[in-house]
Symmetry: C5
Subunit: 379 residues, 5 copies
Amino acid sequence: MHTKFYSDSQHRQTDHALQSRAADKVGLPAGTLIHIGAKHQSECKISAIQYSVETLIYHEISSISDLQSLQNNELITWVNLDGLSNIDIVERIGHQLNIHPLVLEDILSTHQSPKLEEYENFLYLVIKGISLDQNKIFSLQYEQISILLLANYVITFKEKSDTTFDPVYHYLQNRSGRLRLKGSDYLAYVILDTIVDEYFVVEDSLDDVIDSLEDNILLNSNKEILQTIQQIRRSLISMKRNISPLRELLAAIQHIDTPLLQEKTLRYFGDVYDHVLRVNDSLESYRERISAMHDIYLSSISNKMNETIKILTIFATIFIPLTFIAGIYGMNFEYMPELKWRWAYPALWVIFILVSIGLLRAYSEIQRSDTRCQVRIPV
Amino acid sequence: MHTKFYSDSQHRQTDHALQSRAADKVGLPAGTLIHIGAKHQSECKISAIQYSVETLIYHEISSISDLQSLQNNELITWVNLDGLSNIDIVERIGHQLNIHPLVLEDILSTHQSPKLEEYENFLYLVIKGISLDQNKIFSLQYEQISILLLANYVITFKEKSDTTFDPVYHYLQNRSGRLRLKGSDYLAYVILDTIVDEYFVVEDSLDDVIDSLEDNILLNSNKEILQTIQQIRRSLISMKRNISPLRELLAAIQHIDTPLLQEKTLRYFGDVYDHVLRVNDSLESYRERISAMHDIYLSSISNKMNETIKILTIFATIFIPLTFIAGIYGMNFEYMPELKWRWAYPALWVIFILVSIGLLRAYSEIQRSDTRCQVRIPV
Amino acid sequence: MHTKFYSDSQHRQTDHALQSRAADKVGLPAGTLIHIGAKHQSECKISAIQYSVETLIYHEISSISDLQSLQNNELITWVNLDGLSNIDIVERIGHQLNIHPLVLEDILSTHQSPKLEEYENFLYLVIKGISLDQNKIFSLQYEQISILLLANYVITFKEKSDTTFDPVYHYLQNRSGRLRLKGSDYLAYVILDTIVDEYFVVEDSLDDVIDSLEDNILLNSNKEILQTIQQIRRSLISMKRNISPLRELLAAIQHIDTPLLQEKTLRYFGDVYDHVLRVNDSLESYRERISAMHDIYLSSISNKMNETIKILTIFATIFIPLTFIAGIYGMNFEYMPELKWRWAYPALWVIFILVSIGLLRAYSEIQRSDTRCQVRIPV
Amino acid sequence: MHTKFYSDSQHRQTDHALQSRAADKVGLPAGTLIHIGAKHQSECKISAIQYSVETLIYHEISSISDLQSLQNNELITWVNLDGLSNIDIVERIGHQLNIHPLVLEDILSTHQSPKLEEYENFLYLVIKGISLDQNKIFSLQYEQISILLLANYVITFKEKSDTTFDPVYHYLQNRSGRLRLKGSDYLAYVILDTIVDEYFVVEDSLDDVIDSLEDNILLNSNKEILQTIQQIRRSLISMKRNISPLRELLAAIQHIDTPLLQEKTLRYFGDVYDHVLRVNDSLESYRERISAMHDIYLSSISNKMNETIKILTIFATIFIPLTFIAGIYGMNFEYMPELKWRWAYPALWVIFILVSIGLLRAYSEIQRSDTRCQVRIPV
Amino acid sequence: MHTKFYSDSQHRQTDHALQSRAADKVGLPAGTLIHIGAKHQSECKISAIQYSVETLIYHEISSISDLQSLQNNELITWVNLDGLSNIDIVERIGHQLNIHPLVLEDILSTHQSPKLEEYENFLYLVIKGISLDQNKIFSLQYEQISILLLANYVITFKEKSDTTFDPVYHYLQNRSGRLRLKGSDYLAYVILDTIVDEYFVVEDSLDDVIDSLEDNILLNSNKEILQTIQQIRRSLISMKRNISPLRELLAAIQHIDTPLLQEKTLRYFGDVYDHVLRVNDSLESYRERISAMHDIYLSSISNKMNETIKILTIFATIFIPLTFIAGIYGMNFEYMPELKWRWAYPALWVIFILVSIGLLRAYSEIQRSDTRCQVRIPV
């Protein structure tokens, strides 16, 4: 029973219309459902899994009525929806499960910050999946994932179809795993944990880039380094914006008094909280390192400029006076007695050499007095 | 019954008097009503709408007595006043509805920060409308909007007549919309939401400018970029000042214990709160990006200066010694044996060329040792 | 009954002694009353006003006994003391009204930060009056004002005699004004409000200076601008130090449980609180703007330096090689065949011109590649 | 009974596999035990100590069954495990003592931040041991130490075998020491205290390096200094990340209501808290000092560049005009009357000297006007 | 009964051993009493004062038994110990008064941050005395002062013998002073107040240095200024570290529920709290001013460099082309028609002059366009 929901109106969109704009909804009355955010031109794909310790059933859903037939209180049901272009589907799912209209609006608007909202019959969680764009150098892709946790029921909404949830599917197949033994709240934890684990992949990649930058920054100071620094800064700023609200969210989960979350599962959510804290700390220290690196970069360029100017100054201050002296004896005055002296020319060479040596010595003297007091780093 | 209130005294104002000054009231006893802020030379225009699920009546008000006749507890009444130059009107509205004199002062003084005040019979909300000035490049216009929420009654005061509230009017015409079904608190929410939605338009525009700047900053480092950076910084500072107090205001609304706000409507105000949080986060990340860009700009200029000085140094250190040598053999000493040698001149050319090559090689050697250790960015 | 209290000992002070020092009291046992702070060589002047709705009596006080005779529970009494050099007076007032010795010490020490202290029989408020020094460019003058609020009694202590309180005197003459109708707590509010209103004058003045700086910083980068930036920074730092504690103070007033403050008056103190918040926000945004401006200034100088060096480089790299070529044919070798060629000289001119054009083209090529990617600012 | 647990699978690891990656576990279902972190190729070594006031027994453990036989409620047992490569051992210890699976995962993952977790039957503490790498200049090594505190039982897990715990072993041998008199909570305190004391060694070393840098930064501004600054910044950032969470952890310990911690021992944990606060304050002030030093460095380079350019300018502006004059009289025009004057050549020398003196005076004049206003530092 | 406690072991210390190290205790079991910190080679001197309103007895203590004989509940006893080298004495005092061993350790370790600890029978306060080193320019000296407040008993431990407590001694002699009338808690306040008052002396001195720097920074930009800036920064960082914890400490004192502190004395501690707040605010504003000054310094150097380069550019761009022209007519080609023209030489002079004037005008044109838009600072 696999059917695809073609949302024809979306297919006619021009490239311009694909651009994501936070303000798309301005001017529309609040309460109108539209999809705000980048339109990933994928079709909308729904799949459902039902499981208990003994059972594991995988459905590919083609119509809402298929969904309705899944109602089963003895199994835990997980419905996943990839692609948000078909507003109708989302609205009907919302209607069926009695979801507050504001939540449906938020699911469709992919500019949300991570947040947690408690409703009478369900918990609503928004979180950002982050993945590396394999084609570009350190470029990040974000995907909004909405999680609705009901009793025995979890629904997830993703912007596009990708491999983010594969570890969860894999884990579900493990019959003796903790996941199969526990309730829907534990499933929500595993999904959350899987998304947060992806952050560490990005973090490791960042770590490599920053380490490599730190090792090279003093040797190298070309434009490319500056560009890489800028790119990482942008990535850090956007990551911070998308990850940091998770901290409060996961702290809040611990204090929610709801029958949807079992006391025992909270310990696991606390573990995700620790991971998020760790990612946040890392981001903060990356930010400090990048900022420090920028300072180093600036100092390093100033240093090099200083070196270049020193070379120029040494050459110029030595040869400009000499050229002047040579210029004097190139003058055509009739009465210049020196011109007729027998040893004038060799004597002038001696002067040239002495002046050069004198100036060079003066420089090396200045240089030495500067570096005389060596830094003695103990340890 | 459309009449215009001409406030003649305002019309005689010179341009100087139009300048907005926070201190205009200094020296006047507290409690004196005057209009503080930029005087938009518009007349004062009042309109009123009364509605219930079935009814929707639009009145254009010409006198206070018209207002008094609107008293009707079965309909929800929304009175909007565009233009604050007619102090008399504001005072009489205040008197009629029993508004605290400090509130009237605040409505007329357009230098308020966003704030929320709870009085016995009404809630008082100040918020800033922000719009883009279409004529200049990224220039913002602010407008103070005061909202008084009473039972079945909402009054809004705006500095000038513009299209800010058009989406609300539009929404009201939708008979089956949630707005027509709900009370005056929901109207206040819709008005607030409409104003906050405008922020996203400004944010999108900012986003475009900053993205474009980030892409070009490394290629370009002229004065115009510096000017754009400065302008955006100013805009961000003023936006932050006008938007950030909203956060606390909307958090406070959730905890006010007043019959004016229904439990169910609070969820909607919470939604506006989320939007404001999002705008605030965006502003903060824009600030960081602009600041990072400024650093990049400075580094980029230093980089270029370094390049320029390098060129100067290479030219100068090669040609100054050569010129000196040429100068030597331009001297007119009688006894310069080299001058008479047969191959002296071609030999000198050889020397010229060798010295040039030697120095160029020395430079490229230095250059190479600098960039030998290439940044190897993994990923 | 107007008498002046000459404090002769103060008159003999040298200029050095006039300097204000925070540590003047070090070494003296705690509890010794001395005047710490700049000594304004004014005499100590006391005035008293008594009023009710019907009555308004103005006394000029010459001795403590005059003060004692003012005791009257049906009128509200406001005693103002200009000039703190006469310690004796302050001590005797304190004794008469049963003021805690630490408060008397604080009144005389004009290095206090704004603060609020609650005692059994009175409230003690310290606040800083700020005014512009008309003679210098953006220079501020601070004055410590102590306010003691008792039942039906307000005493204010000012460092010097100036026009700060004129609006209050003026307001008192308005028989039907709210001030005459209310108690001593309202008088304290009006005094506070008057002092805070002065801040807006300073703020407006700052605004003008900073706006003008922002408009000119990119055109101009001389020392004077740097000096103005530095001066504003110093002013902002000192203003922040003197104003920001007011915020907490006025928030604290709302929560003090004392019969001295009526419930209804608190709303007015809340209004002053809003004003102080506004001033604080302004100071913060001025600080950010000045800091941004400093960055712009530095970038702007770097930009200019870059331009200057570019000019130098272009001139030098074009003419130094040409001069070298001219130098070659100025050599006096006997065997230089070119010297005898018929078209050598015009040919050399052609070379000169070609080399110049070639180098200039190379430069403009580099230049063009730099600015090829113009910033396309949308909007 | 000393046996070594060879974990053969680990020995086959390539160097690449040794690299530590936070994301190693991504894709594995939560709840799978693997060792995440740098693999120190050491074997896994277990030792156990049992003591009371009279007794002190030292066991070297070779198998889990040895551990089981240690159960003894009258002695306090401390089991220490060096090296985490043998996952099996950790799992079996966990099973034996009824440790929550998440804790076992955390013990094996050495990317934890310091944290404290309270379980029903035990307290779980993660802390980072920091030591100086003796071979490199200011390079730090981190080791994750997990402490499990049970009633009469302490287990510690360390990444590698080193001398960190030697002071504890030494202290245990002191029969009359407080340690032998008190419970397992006091042992945990002594272990914690020993680890934190190591921080002071690192801090002292940092202090020496920074002091030496501060003394030399103005004299010296070569690349090595920049490199040292960068290295210290990196160390400070990583130390902060590993130490600062300890603060909250130790504050939290004071408020845990558990029979595992006696009231009297809390005072000692409070002492460690003070030490950690002190280290944190030091790190913060080091950060400020390094940041200030970087500013000084940049200023210092600019200063030097300025000096160099001044020298260049003085030489160039004096000799370039002189060379021009000499160039004029090197021209070969037929009609240059000066060339034939008797005193032209000496006169020109006079001009040369006068021009030089004039320009030098002009410079020293500018110089003097710059430094005329000496800084008069009082004190 | 005056005896000196010679701690012979200390006298044999080499200079190296005198260096203060935070980590001296590492490796020693916790609970071992040793003196950590700089060893001031002074002997350990104990003095005791006992007083009531009528009595004032001064004892110079030579042995612990002398101390024991002082027990007297009707007098207030203040024991002061100068110099911490004699560990034995401290231990015996501790034993006699039943002081917790951790407190004794802290008294002897002079690397403590200010802190307050409440024990059953006493309060323990650590505070830092700060004084100016008269011999060097703005160099600070710190001294750790421990205060133990018991009922009718105050013990103070100081690192060295100096004049810090002289004002307290002086105040005690004033028979009618408040100090003689009140309890030991008031004595503790007076001691605290005396130490904090010393901070103002340092602050005044800082103020003078910073004011003087701010006035001169734009005129002067030599290395000495940079050095002074750096020194002040270091001082501010160390002061902040030693003073800022006092704030929390004195806030905490207000909320301690102990019979050792009377309700009435708390008001006085609140006064010290205000002073500490003031010092902290000052430090913060000094920090901002120094940081601003550093920016100014950097801008000022850039400005000067720009000026210097401008001079160089003007000279070079004028004279280099002229020299080139002169070089052309210094060439020895046979066929250079201009050389034979009658007015060629004067004509060339005209060209020289015109070119110079032209270039100078071009420069002044550029200059003028830069400064055309003068900053019009209103006010």
